[in-house]
Symmetry: C2
Subunit: 402 residues, 2 copies
């Protein structure tokens, strides 16, 4: 099991069962011993949950944070003025418990929407979760458990790089599953680091990393009211990262890698997903065209059901590229599918290839599949990740609320 | 059963089994005794089937047509040069059989893609289907059967209006099911009329009618390589329709109505669909905003699975509006759901309403549901139609090819 958000120096975390969910942990907290520079991306949905509006207002001030508190089981979205009041109560209770300013507390919520928070349970839980704060594998795991909803496994990652002769560590946790789509679908992802990074650079890095990770995954195309990706840098490693400073490239690589790892974990655990589909488009005229095509393929319900049926249906892949909005010449498209069992050519320069059905069946029976699409318009490429569309997806979402 | 494409004067049609499909009719033909002005909209997919490219080239000439021939079971898409040659053979064979110019023959194909047409069977079938040409209910039905793929019922419509003291009739047939989405998804729709309408006006009317019908339905968001909507006017009623002429409004209404009827039939028969969902958004600032919201709701996998689960999940409806790209104030949204069993308020001006779960269950058990969304930004409104997302959809599409 990978370490998570307390892997970097100076961070503590905890998870707790406060009674919002039926059985499992539903409250998580993360604190830093020193103020954290931070950056965040919030949902682009017009309908934003109370904690998202609070986070956006904090982000505008550009001031450091000291704590993050998250509840799961209830999203505090579409809850009207009561939702705003409940959010404020969570902020005040956390600030009082930790003796820190209210404006240094970021909040996130995830779960059912339109139902008022069971706020008394959460308020009672906050001092208790704070009591459990620790820096350890157990603390990482407990915090990550506290943010899960229909997730079936813990999503964590950590990396250490040596910069200026010192160790710089990054740690992350995420929750996803269902409604995962480009432009911030229902998911929470938090990355901590003990590097010292200025707020503006952190925001720039987060934007770029998200474009290659969270924005390139799709489960079902819905975007939610609560999505939040945030990064926190407390400087405890003693290493300052600047654009022209030593080790910038190394830090940036680790930063991208950790977000990509969390994003892939999210899509692997898409509701009802049995297969992880990685689609790489190469040879596009522009980066944007490559991204559009890759995302269109992983987002297509017909492509997704074909993978569920283990059907090497290149026609649906080509069709999804065709309505992606990117232009290309269908006569220059080659499509290959591979897994650990081997590789098959499905189409070469626009011509369907007669392939070995037996080998195709073997390849497609695997849980990790790669689709390689080659066009001949230029040098740009992109990768997107998706999953298959199964009976289980319909079951989970058809029976979610009731 | 409604009459279809031979309801207007001077049209004949037929359907025939040529052996492309396993058992059912797979070839359809429609001819007019006099040349037809025509208009069409083709798929926006970059990947276009051979018959679509032929249709586009005919449309550019602006010249009248005399016949339409359609095969089902094989889409002649992604079939390379062989596909172009096969298309030409279909055109030549039809022209020879009917003794008409090749450039007066429109072709459409639907079915699997990437597999060469069994062209010999189709060429042998063309004289045979021509032999069956007739104007009758049976002829309408046979032609419509000839264009079906996974459709489970015939989609036909006809209307007669009195203009200038004479009868003007419109008839239509369509096939759909799966991949139905705004901007021309996998579907064919053909409307005939014995009115005399100039080509330019016909194209304008078709564009407008499609914006309120085919472009407002969604089954799964995929758009296909073969979509074609075409209208044909042979003037046999002796009534000329012009923009400032008598009866224009009446004709336009009938024209819109017939396309809407076909579009609703298509979405009602979406693959695996058990429910027809009509979503009306009223009070929007612009028509475009109303359309975006309505389409976003019917296209959402989470909304669709909620209706499959008969769950009055207003949160997913509001959420889908939120990522539609249209701006609105969530605090001014009211949402109602109704069916023959009654009506429930789910949200009033942004506040969730506690509703009678028993009544909700009764209402949602019906096969036809209406969602009424009211915002308070203006006077514009739009209607979109969709269906639920069921286990059956996954089954049909997961096992289609193999």
């Amino acid at each position: 099991m990978s370490r998570g958000i307390t892997a970097p120096k100076g961070f503590q975390a905890a998870g707790f069962y406060s009674g919002v969910k039926r059985k499992r942990k539903d409250l998580a907290m993360m604190v830093s011993q020193s103020p954290m520079n931070w950056a965040a991306l919030f949902t682009t949905n017009v309908v934003k949950a109370a904690p998202v509006l609070w986070g956006e207002s904090l982000l505008k001030t550009g001031k450091p944070l000291q704590a993050l508190v998250i509840n799961s089981g209830n999203a505090n979205a579409c809850t009207g003025e009561q939702g705003d009041l409940d959010l404020q109560k969570m902020v005040v209770q956390t600030a009082m418990t930790l003796s820190i300013p209210e404006t240094s507390v970021l909040v996130a919520s995830t779960g059912v929407i339109g139902v008022p928070l069971p706020i008394e349970k959460i308020l009672a839980g906050i001092p208790q979760v704070a009591n459990c704060l620790d820096a350890s594998q157990d603390a990482d795991d407990a915090a990550t458990q506290g943010i899960m909803t229909t997730d079936t496994f813990l999503k964590q990652a950590s990396m250490t790089v040596e910069i200026q002769g010192k160790e710089v560590t990054l740690g992350g946790m995420a929750k996803g599953s269902g409604m995962i789509h480009p432009n911030m679908a229902t998911m929470l992802a938090f990355v901590t680091t003990d590097a010292k990074v200025e707020t503006a650079l952190l925001q720039e890095l987060l934007k770029e990393a998200s474009d290659e990770s969270y924005h390139m995954i799709s489960v079902d195309g819905d975007t939610s009211t609560n999505d939040t990706v945030a990064v926190f840098a407390n400087g405890e490693s003693g290493v300052a990262i600047t654009k022209d400073g030593e080790g910038y490239r190394l830090f940036k690589e680790a930063f991208f890698k950790i977000h990509q790892t969390l994003a892939i974990a999210i899509v692997s655990d898409g509701e009802g997903a049995g297969k992880l589909i990685e689609v790489q488009v190469i040879g596009a005229a522009t980066k944007e065209a490559a991204k559009r095509m890759a995302r269109s393929i992983v987002s297509s319900s017909l492509v997704k059901t074909a993978f569920f049926g283990e059907d090497a249906n290149w026609g649906r892949i080509l069709c999804a590229m065709g309505y992606s909005g990117a232009d290309f010449n269908p006569k220059e498209v080659s499509i290959q599918i591979q897994s650990e069992q081997g590789l098959i050519d499905l189409m070469k320069q626009g011509v369907p290839i007669v392939f070995d059905e037996g080998l195709a069946a073997k390849i497609l029976a695997e849980e990790k599949l790669q689709v390689l699409v080659t066009i001949q318009d230029g040098e740009e490429q992109a990768i997107a990740w998706g999953c298959d569309l199964s009976y289980e997806y319909v079951k989970i979402n058809g029976e979610y609320r009731t």
